[in-house]
Amino acid sequence: MGYKVKVENVSKVYDLNHSRKDKLLSLFTMGHFYKEKPYYALRDINFEVQSGESIGIIGLNGSGKSTLSDLLGEVTVPTTGKIKINGRSSLIAISAGLNMDLTGEENIRMKCLMHGLSQQQIDERYNDIVDFSELGEFIKQPIKSYSSGMKSRLGFSIAIHTDPDVLIVDEALSVGDETFSDKCIVKMKEFQQQGKTIFFVSHSGKQVLKMCDKALWIHYGEVRDYGESKPIVKEYVNFIKKFNDMTKKEQLDYKGKMISQQQRRGEETMLRKKPRSLTAYISPVVITLLFLLSILFQGNMMPF
């Protein structure tokens, strides 16, 4: 025990075959007769997080930050490897699950239910959520009349009051004005003191320094560095500066080189597909036979 989140040898492979036919084939044959065209988004990620720590996930665009945050929020599953989370994790998704026709109040109750809170817990927290969102009288209005800022304030305050053990914040602080985002930061600091773990996804080094005591630098699908935030962020900022000083062509060349390297290494580490055991075929065969038999029976076509 001891850890809050443990990520072991996690890789994520996306399938780039975007033609509909291939997707359908893959879905119906359960992966038989189908060649994937893989894209290795994350390769062999390992790290461990203790409770009460907050981790800033930094990296360039397309380096796999969002993939990692989806995996940590358990929205998708890793292709190989394991993610162990001690408790409940929640990815802050501001507008997900809000219903435009319902009032703010009903939306609060509905989304809290979706997060697995009981009716009693919702009653206890309801006032806190309304206060935090600063919506006042508007809470009784259907949210289609809200401005976009109001919607995200509502979404954020619901998400932060659902009391997760692990909170994943993916570029969510761009909502609202400065005072509101400061309020969010204060709230998150409060979370840290309660021993909760926060992942903070960003490409701004400054925000990470302000918020996090550790940093995880994802570089083209791999962990480039993990540890105390100060030195890593400094190194990251230097790298960005260097990257920005390159000419457009050099930048593109660099990206191309890194991505092809990422794909090559990904291929090497991926395990070959395990052959399926024959026992997996028993129940589909039995059920199909039963079905065919019942057709014969129904049509009075039994041979006996």
Binding site: K23, S95, D101, L102, M114, L290, S294, Q298, G299
Partner: protein, 269 residues
């Protein structure tokens, strides 16, 4: 097989959530309506009226009763279960697609969305069946114990609709055209199922086709429970065997597609 049990365990585990959320869904559906939930009765009533005029007064003419039943009773005992089945399949098949931004951004058991959309249908069919129940009691069409067959009808339809919706809900996300295909196939089955016509009076070919139509089995079970006095549960051994073998087959395919799909939903978009 284990996966089939798993998915129903999941429905049971989240029953409270399913119930609460489907109430919010109904609320939002009728948010800007004057008549609100009253539409749940008004809509089937209008359909019955139209079909009665077209099929009863028009097509059937003065042939009148079906067996011992007035045609209008025969008609509503077919339309009420049919509306439940067809609306159930349509709404449950679209359930995941309608909540796509929820499922791709939150950890949420997406199979419960199917049950959620069925709760609305079950409430409706209970309301409409209440009306038929009063008519039936008043005229003494069915035996008191036979009404329990209604529970069997709900159970059997839920299983079949859930299985079909498991397959279709994934397919519709991949290929949007399936939504239109599904609607048209369902409309076809409306005519292929003994709803406004009677199985006993039908041509032999139609009878054989109906024996392979699982919806006919369901509708006839509803009738047997609500308005027919000779049997409580419709069908002989081979009918039951066929229906359940079909349902389990559909569920099996659906569950595998669903589990394969839901872990990779984001990848498939």
């Amino acid at each position: 097989m284990k996966k089939i049990l798993d998915i129903f365990k999941e429905q049971w585990q989240y029953r409270y959530l399913i119930w609460q959320l489907s109430i919010y869904q109904i609320k939002s559906q009728y948010a800007n309506h004057y008549l609100g939930v009253f539409w749940n009765i008004l809509q089937p009533a209008m359909q019955v009226l139209i079909y009665y005029v077209v099929f009863g007064l028009g097509l059937r003419g003065d042939r009148g009763d079906v067996g011992d039943l007035p045609f209008i009773v025969h008609l509503i005992s077919g339309i009420f279960p049919w509306l439940f089945i067809s609306q159930g399949i349509n709404s449950a098949s679209n359930a995941i697609q309608a909540q796509l931004n929820l499922v791709t951004k939150m950890k949420f058991p997406s199979s419960t969305l199917l049950s959620m959309s069925l709760v609305n249908g079950i409430i409706n069919v209970c309301l409409t069946t209440g009306i038929l129940f009063i008519i039936s009691i008043f005229n003494g069409y069915s035996e008191p114990l036979h009404y329990l067959g209604f529970i069997y009808f709900i159970f059997a339809s839920y299983m079949l609709i859930f299985g079909i919706a498991l397959i279709m809900s994934s397919l519709i996300i991949l290929v949007r055209d399936m939504k239109n295909v599904l609607q048209n196939v369902i409309r076809m089955f409306f005519f292929m199922t003994p709803i406004f016509w009677s199985l006993n009076e039908a041509n032999e070919i139609l009878q054989i086709l109906s024996s392979f139509n699982p919806f006919a089995y369901l509708v006839m079970n509803y009738r047997a429970a609500m308005v027919l006095d000779d049997i409580a549960i419709y069908g002989d051994i081979s009918d039951h065997l066929y229906f359940w073998a079909f349902t389990i087959f559909v569920l099996f395919v659906g569950v595998h597609i669903h589990y394969r799909f839901r872990n990779k939903l984001v990848d498939y978009l």
